[in-house]
């Protein structure tokens, strides 16, 4: 999946959980979910579950721990989609 498509889709997923709407408007590969978007760790779980549902994939515990920014999320989702 290309970068622009993924970022646009991820923006919709994180929208309900992001406290910093300004950072959300400027979301990029380097955006950090916790430090930039101000999503707390509990809501980050919901983000990951919504990502699972959107792309019909299952994310493992160690992948969840790495999924802290947009780049990491895209890498994990793309790797999962290629495995299919």
């Amino acid at each position: 999946m290309d970068q622009a498509t993924f970022i646009a889709e991820l923006r919709e997923i994180v929208k309900p959980y992001a406290k910093n709407q300004e950072a959300l408007a400027q979301i990029s590969l380097s955006t950090d979910f916790i430090n930039d978007l101000k999503i707390n760790s509990a809501n980050l779980v919901d983000v990951v579950l919504d990502v699972e549902e959107k792309y019909d994939i299952v994310i493992q515990n160690e992948e969840m721990e790495r999924m802290l920014n947009v780049q990491a999320a895209m890498d994990i989702v793309n790797a999962k989609l290629q495995e299919k």
């Binding site: 509990a42 809501n43 779980v45 990951v48 579950l49 515990n61 969840m64």
Partner: protein, 148 residues
């Protein structure tokens, strides 16, 4: 794990233990009860001359039975001597009826998910007449898992 063992693992003590008994528990659901003793200090001020159980305490009963007790049951194979550090991470509760001093309430909860150390449950609280008092969604999380 027996319901008695679950109660022993609860990290609460008086005056902030809000579980008297567990009626039933399995992988998906839990049912428990608590009686609000009329001599609880909160009734002296909530409200002046008109004691009603504070909504935050109803929420606490829902969280202790519906999330913490169920969480202990789900973690039964890995829970050690030391209780892991947990935190309530979100509550969304609607209230329908008051609970007066001395009333016994029953909490029923069902798991929405338990993933990545977060337990999210749909929780309902009923009075002794079986009427719905409040319901909502409560979640909690293990902050520092213990490896015992």
């Amino acid at each position: 794990m027996t319901t008695a063992a679950i109660l022993q693992h609860l990290p609460y003590a008086a005056p902030f233990l809000f579980v008297d008994e567990l009626i039933d528990i399995d992988e998906e659901t839990v049912t428990g009860r608590y009686t609000f003793q009329p001599d609880m200090p909160c009734y002296q001020g909530h409200f002046k001359g008109h004691p009603v159980t504070p909504g935050v305490l109803l929420t606490e009963v829902m969280a202790q039975i519906g999330v913490v007790c169920l969480g202990i049951y789900l973690l039964r194979d890995s829970i050690g001597q030391q209780f892991p550090t947990v935190a309530m991470t979100s509550t969304q509760v609607d209230f329908y009826l008051p609970v007066l001093p001395g009333e016994t309430v029953e909490v029923k909860a069902e798991k929405i998910y338990f993933r990545f150390n977060k337990l999210k449950c749909r929780v309902s609280l009923y009075n002794a007449a079986g009427k719905l008092v409040c319901d909502g969604v409560i979640a909690g999380m293990i902050i520092h898992p213990q490896h015992a």
